[in-house]
């Protein structure tokens, strides 16, 4: 399940303990260390992926910003024992040791924004620092004015010579409308980034050539279907089912294009923009081609994903958390089965004009009522230091915004695609799932998309129905 966006279930979040760390430790790569800077890190400068113990035992970097406040409160989207929790504990220890600031942590888990933070905003007992993906933070906290601007953090030094946060975090991850509040101020500074793609096992498909065109993709799917199974898809998660249509539609209409159609109160844009029909036709082709393995639409997550890990299907389309979740499953199964993860993006249709890739930043936000905002912001800058930031790929098996940090082999292809400057970056699902309290996708988009993906309606019927349903949505909303 999408590890952060919407909240990965607790069980799947408790990934990558000692066994995984050992695997990662063995995943040393010779990748070039494009960044680095002049930090005083004793380890990791050689560009190799460090193991968890090495990361935990490494000396703490010196903070460039030492706040006058001596403590702050952090409410976490992670649990204490999951990898990101362990990475952060190390960072908090370092911050206390080097800056004299104690961090009071509450480890809540994924649903804490609506279940803990939002209710707390009605009181004066609020955390200073929170985190989550920008779509969720915006929907639950920012839109009600619960956060303060963090633009000033961008100019803070990170303890690597003169480097600032702005110098090391690519602007495409934060200089976007989805990361700004209604006054245009930045509300989130990213420290992890999600993306998605097709996953396959290089061990099982040794002669597989990653498709560059949609025809090649369907040829690969045909071949895989003939060999036993093409696509594994957990059909009980609506937004997993939405990946296919939104991925392809974005290639026709670009970033913000789907949002425009949602915002069109007449609903006509769904029909007048031909890209939507073309995208829907690809999804219809997927459905009618019966590429999804039998039972995908009558399963409980993560059964179908696990069937992919067991080799019942050739391809799985999920986020960057796919390897960690399936590896965890195989580890629990025993038997020593492993996957050599390969990934590729949805090929751009020939008549499409946007070479897109989806991403979603997870970042730090400071609450409006924060009593220790200075200390919280100083920590944000401190955690951007590469000696702490590298824990995200090395220990948590996820991507950090600092693309130069060594990443596990599983994520190398995805990291390359995400950092390809030629690719247009689009927030997951063009962030339509966070609009209008999520009611648009739940009431209009998901039901029709599910019908399309299951072959119950054609692409044309999808377009014919979603326009009027959109108009009806707006009429009801007033």
């Amino acid at each position: 399940m999408r590890s952060i966006y919407g909240g990965r279930r607790g069980t799947s979040a408790l990934v990558l303990t000692a066994a995984v760390s050992l695997v990662l430790a063995g995943c040393g790569s010779g990748s070039d260390n494009a960044g680095g800077g002049s930090g005083n890190a004793p380890a990791g400068d050689d560009g190799k992926l460090v193991g968890e113990q090495e990361f935990m035992n490494a000396p703490c970097p010196e903070p460039a910003v030492k706040p006058t406040q001596k403590e702050f409160t952090y409410w976490s989207m992670w649990t204490k024992d999951e990898p990101q929790g362990r990475v952060l504990q190390k960072a908090f220890k370092c911050f206390e040791e080097k800056a004299g600031v104690k961090v009071n942590v509450q480890w809540f888990g994924r649903k804490f924004l609506t279940q803990n933070v939002a209710p707390a905003l009605n009181t004066d007992t609020v955390p200073d620092l929170i985190d989550q993906d920008i779509s969720q933070v915006k929907a639950a906290v920012v839109d009600v004015g619960g956060t303060q601007a963090v633009d000033d953090v961008l100019a803070m030094k990170i303890g690597e010579g003169d480097k600032t946060v702005k110098d090391v975090i690519p602007s495409f991850l934060y200089d976007i409308p989805q990361s700004k509040d209604k006054d245009g101020k930045l509300f989130s500074v990213p420290y992890e980034v999600l993306s998605n793609g097709w996953w396959y096992d290089k061990n099982r498909q040794k002669d597989f050539v990653e498709p560059k065109t949609t025809d090649e993709l369907f040829a690969a799917l045909d071949k895989a279907k003939a060999a036993g199974g093409a696509i594994a898809q957990d059909g009980d998660i609506d937004f997993y089912n939405a990946y296919f249509l939104t991925q392809i539609a974005e290639k026709y209409v670009g970033a913000g294009g789907i949002q425009k159609a949602v915002d069109d109160r007449t609903g006509n844009l769904w029909r007048s923009e031909p890209g939507f029909l073309k995208a829907a036709q690809y999804v219809e082709r997927l459905a009618k081609g019966k590429y999804f393995i039998d039972g995908w639409d009558a399963s409980k997550f993560p059964q179908v994903q696990q069937r992919w890990a067991d080799g019942e299907a050739a391809f799985l389309f999920v986020g960057s958390w796919g390897p960690s979740e399936t590896r965890e499953y195989l580890g629990k199964q025993g038997g020593g089965a492993t996957i050599d993860y390969g990934s590729f993006q949805f090929p751009k249709p020939e008549d499409a004009t946007h070479d897109t890739i989806e991403f979603l930043p997870i970042g730090w936000s400071v609450t409006k009522k924060a009593k220790n905002a200075e200390a919280a912001k100083a920590f944000i800058a401190y955690f951007t230091n590469k000696d702490l930031a590298r824990g995200i790929p090395a220990v948590a098996d996820n991507l950090h915004p600092r693309a130069e940090l060594p990443v596990p082999d599983d994520l190398k292809q995805l990291n390359t695609a995400l950092t390809d400057s030629k690719k247009e970056k689009v927030i997951f699902m063009d962030s339509i799932d966070s609009l209008y309290e999520g009611t648009y996708v739940k009431n209009v988009f998901y039901p029709l998309n599910n019908d399309l993906l299951k072959g119950k309606i054609t692409a044309q019927q999808f377009i014919d129905q979603i326009g009027p349903k959109t108009a009806e949505f707006w009429t009801n909303r007033g």
Partner: protein
């Protein structure tokens, strides 16, 4: 219960009996203790039930998001938007299905067991076994059913394994279109034991000679049920019906876990009113005003059903 103990008895008090023409000293003491005992109950009840209920009603007329914002009163806007919302409409219909069809199914099953269990040896043990699903958390039951109804060629769940072992085709129980009915069946299965226990307790009060007499007269099990069991347990059936209605209207966990992935809200066509409230409160964007409006509808719905049920099942009590 408290009041019945501490209030002066309405009857049975005989002036002069030990009081020499004035109320007995212990009665006066009881009177003094009345408010000290009742007041905390009233305060707690008012504070934690009446006030929140009233607040829910008031906030249902606002657009309060419940996240540090100030409620702005918008009249019936929340209700208007809610009634036109597909999610709410589905939730309302599904909740009615669970109350009515679920109720019929549960009680038919309960009555059938009642008829059989009465004459059965070791019925107390069977009753206890039938009650077992009630001691399991609904979330755990939902996950259990997820395994039972698993559809995976060559690795089927228990239900499909049994179907295939008798030569039938496996069924996609958890497919979105049919999952509501599967959940309904599961709820009936899980609930029946509770109502069997209540009804059997009432049946146990019925003097055995009535059944013996009926047997001598050649009555069939159905006739015994129709003419003895049902009339003599009618008051208990009424209470059980009210309990079912209250429980059914707040059905949440089993649907949430079985119809969806368990982490996210399931598709809206499977929603119940409880899921609608949860979604508006904790589903991603807090919208407490909308959640309150739905909660008010639930209060009204349960009130209507309970009153209607009480009227429908009203009979003169039969003394025996």
């Amino acid at each position: 219960m408290t009041t019945s103990v501490v209030t002066p008895p309405a009857s049975g008090h005989q002036p002069g009996a030990g009081g020499r023409g004035t109320p007995a000293a212990h009665v006066a003491r009881r009177k003094k203790l009345f408010w000290p005992f009742v007041a905390p109950t009233l305060v707690l009840y008012g504070l934690f039930l009446v006030v929140p209920t009233l607040a829910t009603v008031v906030l249902s007329f606002s657009n309060w998001r419940g996240a540090g914002d100030t409620p702005q009163f918008t009249g019936f806007t929340q209700y208007a938007q809610m009634f036109s919302d597909d999610g709410f409409q589905n939730a309302f219909v599904n909740t009615l299905i669970y109350i009515t069809l679920g109720g019929v199914g549960t009680f038919v099953l309960a009555f059938l067991f009642t008829m059989v269990l009465r004459d059965m040896r070791g019925n107390k043990m069977v009753r206890a076994i039938l009650f077992f699903p009630n001691i399991v958390a609904p979330v755990a039951l939902g996950m259990f059913f997820g395994v039972v109804y698993r559809y995976q060629p060559n690795r089927q769940g228990l239900a499909n394994y049994l179907l295939e072992s008798v030569g039938l085709s496996a069924v996609k129980f958890l497919e979105a279109d049919s999952v509501t009915w599967v959940v309904l069946g599961s709820i009936i299965w899980a609930s029946a034991g509770f109502y069997i226990t209540i009804l059997m307790a009432a049946v146990d009060r019925i003097p055995p000679y009535l059944y013996e007499d009926a047997s001598i007269a050649g009555a069939s099990p159905w006739q015994k049920f129709r003419n003895i069991t049902l009339p003599l347990t009618w008051d208990v059936v009424g209470i059980a019906g009210v309990l079912w209605t209250i429980n059914a209207i707040k059905i949440f966990e089993l649907v949430f876990v079985m119809a969806g992935s368990g982490t996210y809200a399931p598709p809206i066509h499977t929603w119940t009113l409880g899921i609608f409230v949860f979604d508006r409160s904790f589903g991603g964007t807090p919208a407490y005003g909308a959640a309150c409006a739905c909660a008010v509808v639930m209060i009204v719905l349960v009130s209507v059903f309970v009153v209607a049920l009480r009227r429908l099942l009203r009979r003169d009590a039969i003394q025996f």
